[in-house]
Amino acid sequence: MLLYKLPLMKNYRKRELIATCKKNGGSNLIRNINKLLRKPKQKNNDIQAEQERQDVKPVDFLSNHFDHNVEAFRMVYDRCSDVVFRPFLLFGKKRATIIYIEGITNVEGMEEFVLSPLIKETASETQPLNEFLENKLPISKVKRMHTIAECIESISSGNPILLYEGESAGFSLGLAKWEKRGIEEPIAEVGIRGPREGFNESLEVSTSQLRRIIKSPALKIQSMKIGSYTQTTVAIAYIDGLVDPTLIEEITNRLKRIEIDGILESEYIEEMIEDNPYSPFPQILSTERPDTACSSLLEGRAVILVEGTPFSLIAPISLFSLLQSHEDYYQRFMVGTLIRWLRYSFLSISLLLPSFYVAILTFHQEAIPTALLLSVSASRDAVPFPAVVEALLMEIMFEALREAGVRLPKQIGSAVSIVGALVIGQAAVQAGLVSAPMVIVVAITGISSFMIPRYIAGIAIRILRFPIMLLAGTLGLLGIMMGIISIVIHLCGLRSFGVPYLQPLAPLKGRELKDVLWRSPLWKMDTRPHLTGEFNRYRQSPDLAPSSKKGGDTQ
């Protein structure tokens, strides 16, 4: 019925169509099927094809005719060499076919648990065949599928479909199995202490990792399919009772309005659902660490997992979430605080140091101590460019070097860094193209930009460095202040799913400073951050401070 309607509905908006499909309990796959089924019509107009089309079109529900059903699937999977149709005789009597896709189906299991018993055994007449299949097959998941769309979804996800004569339904056999990468250490977020597990490309593995950490059934995982061709599964994980229900509603709504051909990475989702798409700052955090994701879940945030990528998304966040690392919490709190402050100061160095150098050298020489000024100006003597050009040249060169190092194969990467270091460092200074202090400034800037624990946040800072350098070259310190003020103006207006981006500094939330300005000892972190709406304030009992007096009676 559904498929039958499709050609008529061409004029309707796609959104409505998908909505109707969902209402009817069907699948979103219809768009693909629709196309495939229409193909013969477009290609050859002879009577036979016309006949075929008319035969196939109404077969939204599987028909009673075994041949028709098989033919319909053959047409859908026309020119798909990886789809296998395996005909056999069920109990030596009835014709049957198993349809599966090579590589994502457990073929051995199929031979052992499906084909051999079904071919060998003879049917006992006492119970109908479909009940026998559902009750006796040694497979954990057997499901009856009534529509072609459902069957195709099942086949695509690796579960073979069994069709046989005299049955108007297909049996989806839970035999999906494909090659997965094992759980490995997260490469982009390494640390000294802490779990070494990372998320995985396969969604089930990732959700199971969350479930293994948070065992409470309050951890809810809702999934949906996005991408008309890729049909990528996207799961929203949250803890019921900690999360603001309106947040989940908002995320679901934003996800639902994505109509795209394919989702290849979680960045696709991120760019489609963030609050301000024209901001250099990421408004959603991505992580490949299950422990980071779980700590966000426990704070009342939501995690969005996407099939096919180990990077999950966390929302809502603030700027400071991007500057926190998982290791802050796995070390003693003083160390964590100190490292956090180191990070904040190097963040500002990474943003401003070249600009400061340019501004002071161009406009405010009086602020440089005399001895330093002498040595700097001596080394700048041979350099033909003004400071701002020199700085821009070097910074761009450094960015290029870094980009080349990231993208290249490892073997060549080291060669690039050696050549780059020689060119940028030694040779450029000796040739008199840049001054030695400039090289030092660029090097410090480069190192400090590696201090930011999130790569995506680091990129934002790297982008903003350049306009500020230009401002410093034209207006000196005033220009730098102008740059800082405009960044702050932008950040003050930014929100991530309703949460102000600079919270808890602006607007000030005194209670939450304990995890931003310093890292409180864990026994002092009694309250959760307040994101939006209602929240569950207390995360632990108040009087947890350990002390020797609090020990038991044992001497």
Binding site: G476, L477, L478
Partner: protein, 364 residues
């Protein structure tokens, strides 16, 4: 019109640089001219005007809780007269904000970017301010909150850094010529304290309206303390020479010496001060934008922000032909004009409003 809400703390933090930013620039030297060595007492006397202004603004707010001065003046003295009063307020605020822009730019160009055209400096600042005003009250409140420590902490550092150069005997004689000199000196800072009437534009948007008065008064006190401290620093360092300096605090900045290595940090002081100037101008700019939109009965103030910005830039040139005029204006015109518009007129409005309320209650 304004959907955002701010806390009273945010209002206080917005008002603080709103008064202090320009008050620490030239006011110490003007005050010193009249009060000699007692010019550190003047802010204390001048703050009385501030307390009164906040009191009047809050009382008016109590009577008309959801309205700004532009709206309730129409309610109090009738539509036509109210529009005239509103217009007076707007012109006054546009003019003084233009003045602030000019003062800021004169300071920057005079001391640091001698060859840069002043119009560029003014236009850039106006552009930045219009961005934040378009961002709305919440964004403005957050920016002020974020910049507050950047603006105030260096002032504390300044005390520590120039402490070795303090000449404490500069403070004597205390009240050597009686009370008159400090009172005379209080007139100019008094003009600055009348600017507290600007809270009338923020009071309707507070999340905790009851604390409005408390935080307003607290801000006056903190501003007074800041000015006293700044005046004392200047006095201890420069002594009687204060009155000859155009920007005394900047001259104090020259005394900074950190381990004999970091010296001449005026440019850093300037960079920090720019933040204060930005907040100050934005706060006034916001008041103007909101007020104008209310005066014209518009549904949103954002569309007129750009045009008001151009008007501010123009006023910064029109109202003052030169720095000499600027100085004359600060000393002669502004204190009286500010007192008239921001205290006498509101007082008069409050009087009528209270009388009308009594009358209404009496008739009931």
């Amino acid at each position: 019109m304004e959907k955002g809400k701010i806390s009273s703390l945010q209002m206080a933090i917005m008002m603080y640089p709103g008064i202090v930013a320009t008050a620490i620039l030239s006011v110490p030297s003007i005050t010193a001219k009249y009060a000699k060595t007692d010019f550190w007492l003047s802010p204390i006397l001048a703050s009385l005007i501030g307390y009164m202004t906040v009191y009047i603004a809050y009382k008016l707010h109590k009577l008309y809780p959801k309205q700004t001065v532009i709206q309730f003046s129409e309610q109090i003295i009738g539509r036509f007269a109210g529009k005239i009063i509103g217009f007076l307020f707007l012109v006054f605020y546009i003019q003084i904000t233009g003045n602030m822009l000019r003062q800021y730019a004169e300071f920057v160009v005079d001391s640091f970017l001698v060859n840069t055209p002043i119009s560029l400096i003014i236009a850039l600042m106006a552009l930045l301010c219009s961005f934040i005003v378009r961002g709305g009250l919440e964004a403005l409140g957050r920016a002020a909150q974020l910049f507050f420590p950047i603006f105030t902490l260096p002032l504390l550092f300044l005390i520590i850094l120039v402490f070795p150069d303090f000449e404490f005997k500069n403070i004597f004689p205390i009240l050597g010529e009686g009370m008159m000199p400090p009172i005379k000196g209080a007139i100019v800072p008094g003009g600055w304290f009348t600017e507290f009437f600007l809270i009338t534009f923020f009071l309707p948007f507070l999340t905790d309206q009851k604390k409005g008065m408390k935080y307003g008064m607290m801000t006056v006190f903190v501003v007074m303390m800041t000015l006293v401290v700044v005046n004392l620093i200047v006095l201890f360092i420069l002594g009687l020479a204060t009155s000859f300096k155009v920007y005394p605090l900047m001259s104090v900045g020259r005394y900074i010496s950190l381990g004999g290595f970091f010296e001449h940090l005026e440019s850093a002081v300037m960079a920090i001060w720019v933040v204060g100037a930005f907040i100050k101008i934005s706060v006034f700019y916001y008041g103007i934008a909101l007020g104008t939109a209310q005066w014209l009965n518009l549904s949103d103030y954002r569309p007129i922000v750009w045009s008001l910005g151009i008007l501010l830039v123009i006023f910064s040139f029109w109202s003052l032909p030169s720095t000499v005029e600027l100085h004359k204006y600060s000393v002669g015109t502004f204190p009286l004009l500010g007192l008239l518009i921001q205290m006498i007129i509101p007082l008069f409005l409050l009087g009528i409003a209270v009388m009308r309320k009594r009358k209404r209650q009496g008739s009931e």
